[in-house]
Every structure is written in structure tokens, then in C-alpha cells.
Subunit: 499 residues, 2 copies
């Protein structure tokens, strides 16, 4: 999309435009949308759990009711396939209803009350009541790879609304017609429930200026972003360079190391290899949790596993990628791997011109990987780099070099009750230091929406590693604690909500 | 202190040096201190609550045992007076023991467990266990104005140690001898308890480079800072410009508006004025919560209150300030007020050359205050600006112009059970939007250490407004959630601590 002044729906499989193009949001329209969100702030901050839950459930039902229109359109714009997209729509509705449940149960309204204590400080003190207040309008940048679950009515929107914050969605230009259809549904739900239209605003445009204007808008109070390292770090800087900096909750990339310990390779390796190959190719590798670094010891069993993984990957045919730009980045990233000294290809090198990508698997030793930081960057798509280690202490080095990841997967750690040896213990600790989620079984793709989920991790996985963008704790991002000192009775009667 | 290569203990009252000067930490010494902290990270992250509590209580007892040496030295270096400093030492010990209690009770080790659910996603899911892991070594920048409670063994150190993180304290050059005496105590406690010396590291030096090197050190995982807007924003930028940005928990300044509603002025105003004047002059105004903006309606009762406040203030004699630099900033800030068009002095203009400062009180109308952003900056010391309003909606404008503050105090809100009128409600909401603590009685100086405390607030009060630097939630800053997926039994037996 080189012309950033217009939006155009494009068939992701053929690259052909579908229908007419339309103009991006003007600066005046963006300003008006932010103003409407700001206008809606006070009433929504003062809303109770039942009101918020009704909206969230209304949005879930509206998505489901429009499934027959939404899924084919999403499929045309993303090439993700109707099976996956139907599942994603179900997940998105589930998530909206999940936030409805937790906010109805009081998640946003918890109060911590410390009674006054007579006497002099430090023991004596006034009454303090800790409440949480919604931050205000949240700018939400939709992702390309989850056109429902991380887009207009995805997890960021659901959690912000549950927390009491209006959202201004920046639609992703890779699925512009779907975004428009979804926001139209949302607007109908707001109207049906007599809620202000400004509660779920929408701006669109592929120009950098569109996002920058949104993040700079004075009344925007926080940003939720899922996307590229380049775009995310640039917008994070805009957020922190404001006269009044605002929190930037960004998910900027993750290589999701999978560490295959020798203990995992004692039985048949084909099934393990098949599972991992499937995870690498799922959705054409366009998952934030797609495994990108596979750490395998240098021994006979390790060789057998790596060979089996290469064989399994070669047999898979990832589907077309989301956009020509994402495809170009995939081709460029895998080409860089193949051209790097010390990197060996494990699957046949193929022409880059095909309409669908071929999976890429390369191998490198630990020393080369650790010293060449260009190999630590995420290659978005069905591509993984196998790092061969001499011992588990080298796996720790690899994790340290990667630094931050949404997930680390450890295969082969003893599941029993006796603690493993010191080396394995050190590896588990290194995994917890590097990631927001540590898996001891299964693959990292697939992120359950639940209370104990954590989808974050040290930079660049997240710009706010203490927070999560999936699971019910996501709403905590949009609330700020305030201690009320000697609060009047009427305020405490309203659970301390000063709205 | 123009020579930043050495440290020198100075009598804050006379400005005279005391004893010999000594050299600041060399770059090599800083690197070695950080390395020792990094080395101590794993063992401390794996420590249990009892071990951490024993250290914290040991530090508290060591402070108390050395009171006779510490307080006179602190008094000489700060001029804060022995009564205040004795109280502050008591508070610091109380705080260390408070963190000992909460960590012993499990505050850092809470686990949230979501059982596996059979079936396909989104309902079906693996077992997820949410734990928190310590971030790693914390760089802690001591403040000048609380030589015990926000210095070497202050709240940041106590909360980081409780969370399982080593600290590297950057001593404040305004009380260098006290800092050295305190770190020596701490090192003796570590040795007595067979704990690594690297657990509480110490670097010193007034040069900017000292702090920058510390924040840039690769193994430093977070920064806790209490200090000036200028220094804090510069170091925050260093933290976010690292190849791997780290969290920066900075408290950079606060004007602590006090809104005196007409209802508060129905009875005798002298006592109110006396209370407020006392708060403005407490510790020579060198409190982060010192009231700097007083919002009073333009009417007869308001005039009477402002006159009473001026009278009370004129009768007070703040003591010498902490350093010549702080005194120069006070003189410069109050001079700027007096020279600003539309600003009227309320207490006699006095020569700036005296050894102790005179309280400063000026008056301005709302329009001038809102439009002149130079009036929104904190003037650290016994100085306040009275903003006169036509109605409570103008008070909302003033709060909005200020933007972020540690506290907002509202005097005159009905304490009963019936909600107040819409204007007062809007004012309460604006206060909660602007501050981390909203008081409905009393003065903002004095911050209780308790679970429901929140010492933070929108920028510039805090660079991380969701976090607090006072109260037991302060330890949350140094822990990061990690979801363990299908964790082995042995790991869950250790409360999921992967260390």
C-alpha cells in the first residue's frame, strides 16, 4: 500500500483490489473522533459493571450474528482461511463475554480499605481507601494477523471498555473493509443501548501521520499497540515525547524459543517434530507466538530430531501471507539468514517469487547465533532458526542473547515431584527471566483467555512487561490506583468511584 | 558542588565543609558494584520470605542501634533538625519491618492457578499458573530531602529487597557521609547474615555520568528515582534508549493543589490557615507533598482565608535548606513568580541573601495561571501560589492545567452520606484524574506506610503512574508476572518460583 492517502480492500490470495478505494481519515476527522471519545469518558468511567457487561455482550452477539458476512470478507482480505477465522470469531466473542463476566463480578471496582489508626506516625494514620480510576480514552492500534481477536473488537477494546475507558481504534489497513463492517456493527450496538457513539471511535489510514496524530492527541490517555518493532518503537517514542507522556502498551515482536532437552528425545521424535512443524506453519507463521528459535543439543538424538523437523516442514505448504509487505519482509528475513556466514539451510532453498511462501529452516551453532545480533530479530512467517548447543548452559546463553520473548517452551523437563539437576534449574530460571509465559508441554501458538494468562514479557515482547494484552488482567492496564484519604461516606457508598 | 569528581560533607546550616573530601566512584568501581549485584541476583530471587524478612529486620535494628551516630550526622548534612530526623529514622525502621511482615506473609509469592479445562479452545485450555519473578538488580537513586526514608535504606531499597531484587544505591551527594555510614551498617548486617555483599551495592558521585553509567549497565533491570524533573526526565530517557529499555519508576515533582471550597470557610478560618501554613513550611517546604498551589474562590470568605494564610506564613521561619543549589532554585522560582505579570505578592518581599529562606506566597487569577505554563512548575521549598477562581468549574480548569500531582486536597466536601451537587462531583472526579492520592481532610505532607497507600500520580508526579513508591504495593514494581503452562509438580511445590 504505497498510496497512504486512501484505503483499498485487497484479495490477499490474488493481490487484486476488491471494490473502490476510499479516503483515509482526515486530521479533522481524527480530532473529532478523539473529542467524541473524550466527551464519552466521564459517563463511561461512572458506569457500573452491569452497563459495561451489557455492552460487551451486545458486541459479542453482534459479531456472531454477522458471522456470515464477516468471515468471508475477513478470508478475502487476509487469506487466513474460513476455519481459522470462524474459530477466531468464536474466540473474540468468548473474550468479550469473559470481560463482561469479570467486570460484572467487580474486577474494575475492587476497593482496599485501611482503617484509621490512632496515634502518631508511623503507626498512627488516617483512613486510606485504595480505588482504581479509568485512565481515559485509549488509542488502540489493530494488528494485521488477528482480524477479529486483535482488531476492532479484540482484546484491547474489550479490556479498555471493561476498565471504563472509551477506545479510539486505528483500523489496520490490511483488512480495511472488515474493519469498517465491524465498527458499523459496534456503532449499531451502542445506538441500541443508548450509549454515546464516541465510546468506540474509529480512524483509518496507512500513513504514519494518522497514528502519530492519535498518539499525540491531548486527551488520549494510553496506547495499546500490537505490531511491528519498527512501528511500535516509533509510536512509543511519540507517546513518551508528549508534554505529558502516556503509557504505551506495545507488543513488538517475539521469537518464542523452544528448547528441546535430550530427555525429550528419548522416545519417537517424529511426533514431536510434526507438532513443532505444525506450530511453525500455523497461519503461515503469522502468529506473535510462532516458534522462531529452536534450541537443540549437538548429539545423535538432536541430529535425528532436527532432520525429522526439516522433513516435516518440507511437507507443509503455508498459505498466502497477509500482505505483499509482510511477504517481502519474510523473503528478506529468510534471505538474510541464508546469506549469513555460519548459517546452514535445512530445507530446500526455493524461489521467492511463488504466490505462497515456503517454510524456512536453518541451522547455526551457539557461538555464531549469540555473537550475530541480526539473527535475534523476529522473521514473521513460517521460519525458524535451529541453534545447536553443546550443553544446557549454552541454551542459557541463547536465551540471554534473545533477551525478551512472549514465550519460552521447555521440552523434556521432569514433570515429577523431585527437582531437576542444577543445570535444568538454571535453564528454567533463565526461561522465566526471558519470557512472559513458560511452557513445559505443547507449543506456544494458541493463547488461552483466562485470569492466569500472561501475554507479555521483557522488551521487545512488551514495552510494559508487567502487563498482559491477553487474559482478564489486561483490564488492569487501563486503571490507575488512587488512594482516597478520609473519603466522605457518600463516596465510599459508590465503591469509591469518584465519577 | 561544582567539583563532581569528589564528595564532601558540608554543614547545611553554615555551608562549611566538614572533614576531608574523597573521590567519587570510578567507572570501574561502578561496574564492579553492578557485577556483584548481578551475581547476587539468582540466590536472592530464590530466597524465601523468612530470609528476606530477617534481612529487612536486621537493617531496621541496625539503624536504630546507630541512632546516636546517624541522627547528628544527618542533621549536620541536611539541617532538617534532630526531632524530624529521629522521627524519620523511626519511620524508616517501621517501613523495613513492614516490608518484612508482608513478604513473610507471602506478598511476593502469590500464585494464581487456573486449572486445565478439557475441550477445544476458547473454552478448553492448558493449566496456567501465574507467578511473579523478581526483575533483577535495581538502580536506586536516593533523594536529598529524606536522608533516611528515601535514601540508602529507604522505601525503594526495602521494597526491592522484599521483592527479591538486589539494589545498587546511588547515594545522594548532599548527605555523603551519612550515606557512607548507612551503607557500612547495611554491609555489616549482610555479613552477619552470611548474605552476599552485592545485595546492597553503593556508588557515589555528583557527576551526571555516574548515574548514566548505572542506568546503562546491562544487568540493571529497573530504576527507582526520586528527585528533580530535570534529572529524572534525563535518566528516564537513558533507560528507554537502552538497547533493552528497562522500567523507570521516577517521582519527578508535584505541586499538590489544595482546593479550599466555600463550605470549608464557614467557621473560623484562622485554624485552617495555620494548618496550611504549617504544611507549606514543614521541613522548609522540602517535601514532595508540600502544598504548592492553593485554589480559593474569589469572595469575601476567600479573601479572609487568603489574608489569614498570609499572616500565618509571615510568622513562620523555615529552617536552612538542604543545599545551596536547592536554595538557589527556590530563590529563582519565587523570583520568577514575583516578576510574572498578573502575579501579586501576599507576603513581604525579602532579600534573598539570608541564610534561611523566607516563606513565599503569591496570588494570581485563574486565567493567568492556566495560560502561563511556567507557573505550573514546582517551586521546591516553602512557597505556594494562590489561584483565585470564580466557581468550582475554574478549579477543574486549574487541575487540568496542572495535569499530574502526587496529591490533591479538597477541603469542604460534604462528609455525609448524600452525594454532593454536580459541580462538586466534577471536582472530585477531576482530582482523581490529576492525582495519586485525594485527601478530603488534613494536609498532604505526611505519607502513611500502609497497603492502601498510593504515592504516585500522572506525569510528572510519576513516570509510572500505576505504581507507588510508598506503601507495601511498592514491591509490585520489582516483580514481573510469568504464566507457567503445564508446570511440573516440583515447580508448583516451590510456589512456582523458578529459581
Amino acid at each position: 500500500m504505497t498510496d497512504t492517502s486512501t484505503l483499498q480492500s485487497i484479495d490477499a490470495r490474488t493481490g487484486q483490489p476488491s471494490g473502490e478505494s476510499w479516503a483515509a481519515s482526515t486530521p479533522a476527522a481524527i480530532a473529532a473522533t478523539v473529542a467524541a471519545a473524550s466527551e464519552a469518558s466521564a459517563v463511561w468511567a461512572a458506569s457500573d459493571g452491569a452497563t459495561r457487561a451489557r455492552l460487551l455482550r451486545g458486541l459479542a452477539s453482534a459479531l456472531e450474528a454477522a458471522r456470515e458476512q464477516l468471515v468471508p470478507l475477513a478470508d478475502r482480505e487476509t487469506a487466513l482461511g474460513t476455519a481459522r477465522l470462524n474459530g477466531e470469531l468464536v474466540r473474540t466473542a468468548f473474550q468479550l463475554r469473559g470481560f463482561a463476566d469479570v467486570v460484572e463480578q467487580g474486577a474494575a471496582f475492587a476497593v482496599q480499605d485501611d482503617a484509621a489508626v490512632a496515634g502518631a506516625p508511623p503507626v498512627g494514620r488516617p483512613r486510606l481507601t485504595l480505588v482504581r480510576v479509568p485512565l481515559g480514552p485509549v488509542a488502540m492500534f489493530a494488528a494485521s494477523n488477528f482480524p477479529f481477536a486483535f482488531s476492532v473488537l479484540g482484546g484491547d477494546t474489550a479490556s479498555a471498555l471493561a476498565a471504563g475507558c472509551p477506545v479510539v481504534v486505528k483500523g489496520h489497513p490490511a483488512h480495511p473493509a472488515l474493519s469498517r463492517m465491524t465498527i458499523a456493527l459496534a456503532q449499531r450496538v451502542l445506538a441500541d443501548q443508548d450509549l454515546p457513539a464516541g465510546l468506540i471511535g474509529f480512524v483509518e489510514g496507512a500513513a504514519i501521520a494518522t497514528g502519530v496524530q492519535l498518539v499525540q492527541a491531548e486527551s488520549i490517555a494510553a496506547v495499546a499497540f500490537t505490531g511491528s518493532f519498527f512501528g511500535g518503537t516509533a509510536l512509543a517514542k511519540v507517546a513518551s515525547d508528549r508534554p505529558r507522556p502516556i503509557p504505551f502498551f506495545g507488543e513488538l515482536g517475539s521469537v518464542n524459543p523452544v528448547i528441546v532437552l535430550p530427555q525429550a528425545l528419548r522416545s519417537d521424535v517424529t511426533e514431536l517434530a510434526q507438532t513443532l512443524a505444525g506450530s511453525i506453519c500455523q497461519g503461515s507463521g503469522q502468529f506473535c507466538t510462532s516458534p522462531g528459535v529452536i534450541i537443540v543439543q549437538k548429539d545423535v538424538a538432536g541430529d535425528a530430531f532436527v532432520n525429522a523437523l526439516a522433513t516435516q516442514l518440507s511437507s507443509l505448504s503455508p498459505h498466502a501471507m497477509l500482505t505483499p509487505g509482510i511477504r517481502r519482509a519474510f523473503d528478506k528475513g529468510t534471505r538474510h539468514w541464508r546469506e549469513t556466514s555460519g548459517v546452514r539451510p535445512l530445507v530446500a532453498d526455493v524461489a521467492e517469487s511463488g504466490s505462497t511462501p515456503r517454510p524456512c529452516l536453518v541451522e547455526v551453532d551457539t557461538t555464531t547465533f549469540v555473537s550475530d545480533t541480526s539473527l535475534h530479530d523476529e522473521v514473521f512467517g513460517s521460519a525458524a532458526i535451529v541453534v545447536r548447543t553443546d550443553a544446557s548452559s549454552q541454551a542459557v546463553e541463547v536465551l540471554h542473547a534473545i533477551g525478551g520473548s512472549l514465550t519460552v517452551t521447555l521440552w523434556g523437563v521432569d514433570a515429577g515431584t523431585s527437582a531437576p539437576d542444577a543445570d535444568t534449574l538454571a535453564l528454567v530460571r533463565a526461561a522465566a527471566q526471558a519470557a512472559g509465559r513458560v511452557l513445559f508441554a505443547g507449543v506456544p501458538t494458541g493463547v488461552a483467555v483466562t485470569a492466569a494468562q500472561h501475554h507479555g514479557g521483557p522488551f521487545p515482547a512488551s514495552t510494559a512487561p508487567a502487563t498482559t494484552s491477553v487474559g482478564y488482567a489486561a483490564l488492569d492496564r487501563f486503571l490507575r490506583p488512587v488512594a482516597l484519604q478520609d473519603a466522605p461516606a457518600w463516596l465510599l457508598d459508590r465503591d469509591g468511584v469518584p465519577c
